[in-house]
């Protein structure tokens, strides 16, 4: 069985799964319950400046009957008195010495305020501190949260104040509401932070109520942007994580990264590990289903690691980073075409309409007799299941015309029905980078491009 233990910047936990700083870690009773369920660690809901909260603070994005593919919130940092939080943190840590207890903090941008909160957190016996530079709503209007995270210089300055005071590991948490995630990460490295974490929530408006015409959720008739999180943000988080892992400065520094943003299953978790996260944080999925999901997160990850031959988490971390590339380095001669498995195809013909309306018009409908037919070409008097089923045409890819766009593969509702099959292009491998270096005119002039295409045999239909 795989060893799931981690040592993240000196913070140890029996598995890589921590509850993110959020409502699930609002109190000692909750974190206690979470640890009983098996969570490896918890980042306490941010403590710091005094706040008051509002009602209707969580919105959600649903798709079809799938609930809460993302949550959106305007909840602020902990609204419980700081003394109570600190006391409960100390109690929980005393009771659960093997679990990671990290405290998220956010105070006014003054050195003395940060020094004081660091000292008070250290007094609890907590394992680490996470700097909340990401909260995009409310706190940012007061010059905290993402107001810091969006300005790399501020990140660096405040983190330096913290590093001067702290004796336990410090994790700097990044906001995704920024054009280039690498810059604040480098600031963290420069300031000497022990670790980074990302992503915090994304600015968002969930929707407008079509009866009342108010925003959803409506807070006394008004609303505004809130922090967006949950399964829907995972691809954004993975990209930002990979951006750090492939940045020379950040990756060379060796700074560990705690990954979060839409982790709901062990599959998500494994992907974050493969792209360089060495601890994982979870919130929305827990808010949807409760602490119990930790069981399959660990169990599934462990089984997958066994199957793949990974013995420890560090073996997995960053394993796929070398696959991350830029467009200019992709092989322009790599060719794949879609192939539909006739036996698996249920003839929903969604691939047909997607390809013909919006992609490259290379899927035909083939009648049972073998000829190409148009949609709805049956007689108006034809009816009944037998005629409908027995005369139903089947989609088939015209492979020479297929550009390998992969749209049909994505819309097909049947597992493993459409495969993207590599086929020889007959051209030698070449990247855009190489082209622009060796054959510059081809990349700058359409006529030269035309000649080049003719020469190597690229036909755009």
């Amino acid at each position: 069985m795989a060893d799931l233990r981690i040592n993240f910047a000196g913070i140890k936990s029996p598995n890589p799964f921590w509850l993110a700083s959020a409502p699930p870690t609002n109190s000692g009773a909750q974190v206690h319950k979470a640890f009983e369920a098996g969570w490896g660690g918890a980042v306490w809901k941010t403590i710091g400046a005094p706040v008051l909260n509002v009602s209707n603070r969580y919105g959600a994005w649903h798709h079809g009957r799938q609930r809460m593919l993302a949550i959106n919130n305007v909840e602020l940092i902990s609204d419980r008195p700081i003394e109570i939080n600190l006391r409960e943190i100390a109690e929980v840590k005393r009771e659960w010495p093997d679990r990671a207890v990290i405290v998220s903090a956010m105070v006014d941008s003054k050195p003395e305020a940060w020094r004081e909160i660091v000292e008070r957190i250290e007094d609890t016996g907590a394992d680490g501190i996470e700097l909340n530079y990401g909260c995009p709503h409310g706190m940012s209007e007061r010059g905290m949260g993402s107001a810091i995270g969006q300005v790399p210089e501020y990140c660096e300055r405040i983190t330096r104040w913290v590093m001067e005071a702290a004796t336990i590991p410090v994790i700097m948490k990044l906001t995704p509401n920024i054009t280039n995630i690498v810059l604040p990460a480098r600031a963290g490295v420069a300031a000497g932070a022990n670790a980074l974490s990302l992503i915090n929530t994304i600015n968002s408006i969930v929707g407008v109520d079509l009866d009342t015409l108010e925003l959803t959720p409506s807070i006394g008739g008004k609303g505004g942007h809130g922090g967006y999180a949950g399964p829907a943000v995972k691809p954004i988080a993975l990209n930002m994580l990979a951006s750090l892992g492939t940045d020379e400065i950040v990756s060379k520094s060796g700074i560990p990264i705690s990954g979060m943003g839409g982790i709901a299953t062990w599959q998500d978790a494994a992907q974050f590990l493969l792209l360089g996260a060495s601890s994982l944080q979870v919130c929305t999925a827990v808010m949807h289903y409760g602490y119990r999901i930790i069981e399959d997160l660990c169990d599934g990850l462990s089984n997958w690691m066994d199957e793949k031959g990974f013995k420890t988490i560090p073996e997995v971390v960053g394993h796929s980073l070398h696959r991350v590339s830029e467009f200019k380095n992709l092989d322009l001669s790599y060719r794949a075409v879609a192939r539909i498995d006739r036996a698996k195809c249920i003839k929903c013909n969604l691939c047909y309409v997607a390809c013909n309306d919006t992609a490259h018009q290379c899927i035909d409908l083939i009648s049972p007799q073998g000829g190409v037919v148009e949609p709805s070409s049956y007689d108006v008097r034809s009816n009944g299941k037998r005629e409908a089923v027995e005369t139903r045409p089947q989609p088939q890819v015209r492979e020479p015309d297929c550009v390998g766009c992969r749209l049909c593969y994505n819309v097909c509702p049947v597992d493993e029905c459409i495969a993207m099959v590599e086929v020889p292009s007959g051209r030698s491998a070449v990247t855009w980078s190489e082209l622009s270096q060796d054959q510059t005119p081809v990349t700058e002039d359409w006529e030269a491009m035309k000649d080049y295409r003719q020469k190597v045999g690229i036909d755009i239909h």
Partner: protein, 445 residues
């Protein structure tokens, strides 16, 4: 349960409850939204099924109902009575290794919304000044008249019964379609500008000659004739199946049901009769059929339904005599049957075995053995085909300007509501072309 069985209203209440909004949305989301969908092909009226289902998913119920009405004005009846297993749902791509979408239930959901909100089609076509007489207010006639109205024509339906709806009102058991649904559907057709004159019998109160003088075209949609005679002694005591069903719909409280009931026949109507008897308190209901379950004409799902209702089946038995006791039925004498070579219907011919008489006790006997061919053809001197009114590809009979649709022309294929509706729609388009010499639009909203 015992009291529910005794209360005819409860016992025969619509069997399937309406889908809840949540259940409908969940089911609608399950639909893949196939392109050029096989369910639409399988539907005789070619309702754009994925389209109406996706509109349920987006809570656009008015649009959903309009999508159904665009292809089928009798969507409320069809949602309830269509053999969906043989049609749309039978063709669903999810059926192979999953569960087909509950298309019938979803259609009913949209149609219930339309009924509750009076969200019905609105006629926008300019009046053509043409008028058409339609004989019979069953599904074919209602569909045809409604479609003609949508095309701008004045349609008048002549119906011999007191209520419109034909078999929807009188012949479909309430378990599947309550009377009120059929009547409301007729009212919807009237709201399109169709006039329905009930209590007027064609051939008696009004003649073809008169109608031909007064109208630009005449459409015959009178359905089939009476139940055929079995030709056995004591037959006069046997109850006609369609009348039995009619009574269960129009006057269930006074419907007399025996304790030990025999239903002769094995079609869908026979199963319906047996179901009514069972639900209204018969202790034992036996369906008697001269062939076997392989040759039964009822749908497979009807047979399954009947068995679950506790109906017993006596195959390979041919009724030969009704036994009476003080003028009341006491039993049905039958002969054992052996199956011989295929007959004209293509099914093995039943061959009664001489001397094999046996008696099935019964205190009530109902027969549901199909319906006679339409008598109208002979009366009007129309050409026939296998006893049905002969029509050409545009539903015109051998007499110019006289059209026929529905069960009265159904030489082959299943006689069903949805086929009748499609006949009505296609005939209306043909009549329109004929009368205005312009092609009818493919789709009318």
């Amino acid at each position: 349960m015992e009291s529910a069985l005794r209360d005819p209203g409860m016992a025969l209440a619509e069997q399937l409850p309406p889908l809840t909004a949540h259940a409908a949305a969940v089911e609608a989301d399950r639909c893949l939204y196939c392109y050029d969908a096989p369910c639409t092909h399988a539907c005789p009226t070619h309702i754009d099924i994925p389209r109406f289902i996706k509109k349920i998913a987006t809570n656009n119920l008015r649009g959903s109902a309009a999508t159904i009405f665009a292809s089928n004005l009798l969507g409320a009846t069809c949602a309830r009575v269509c053999p969906v297993q043989e049609l749309c749902e039978g063709a669903c791509v999810l059926g192979a290794d999953h569960k087909p979408i509950a298309i019938g239930r979803l259609q009913r959901f949209a149609m219930d919304y339309a009924r509750e909100h009076r969200s019905y089609p609105i006629v926008k076509a300019e009046s053509t000044g043409k008028s058409i007489a339609v004989i019979g207010a069953g599904p074919a006639g209602l569909s045809c008249a409604g479609e003609l109205a949508r095309l701008g024509h004045k349609a008048t339906i002549f119906e011999k019964r007191q209520m419109a709806g034909g078999l929807s009102t009188y012949g479909i058991i309430a378990l599947r379609e309550p009377v009120e649904v059929a009547l409301e559907e007729s009212r919807m057709i009237e709201s399109l500008g169709v006039e329905i004159k009930t209590g007027i019998e064609f051939g008696k109160d009004v003649s073809l000659a008169e109608l031909k003088r007064q109208f630009d075209a005449v459409v015959l949609s009178g359905g089939l004739g009476s139940t055929p005679s079995l030709g056995i002694p004591g037959e006069e005591i046997i109850i006609d199946g369609l009348e039995f069903i009619e009574a269960s719909k129009t006057d269930p409280a006074n419907l007399q049901v025996g304790r030990n009931v025999i239903v002769i026949g094995a079609g869908n109507t026979a199963v319906d009769c047996a179901t009514i008897a069972r639900r209204l308190g018969a202790e034992r209901v036996t369906m008697v059929y001269r062939r076997t379950d392989r040759e039964m004409t009822c749908y497979e799902h009807e047979y399954d339904f009947g068995r679950k209702e506790g109906i017993e089946f006596r195959f390979l038995s041919q009724p030969s005599r009704v036994l009476l006791n003080d003028g009341l039925p006491a039993g049905l004498e039958c002969l054992r049957v052996e199956l011989g070579p295929p007959d004209a219907s293509g099914r093995p011919s039943p061959q009664p075995v001489a001397g094999s008489e046996f008696v099935l006790p019964a205190d009530q006997i109902v027969k549901a053995v199909g319906q006679n061919k339409p008598v109208l053809a002979a009366l009007l001197g129309l050409e026939t085909r296998k006893g049905f009114i002969a029509v050409d590809s545009v539903f015109q009979t051998s007499v110019a300007g006289v059209y026929a649709i529905g069960d009265c022309i159904r030489v082959s294929g299943a006689a069903s509501t949805v086929m009748a509706v499609e006949d009505g729609k296609l005939a209306a388009a043909a009549i329109h072309r004929q009368l205005v010499s312009a092609p009818a639009p493919l789709e009318v909203s």
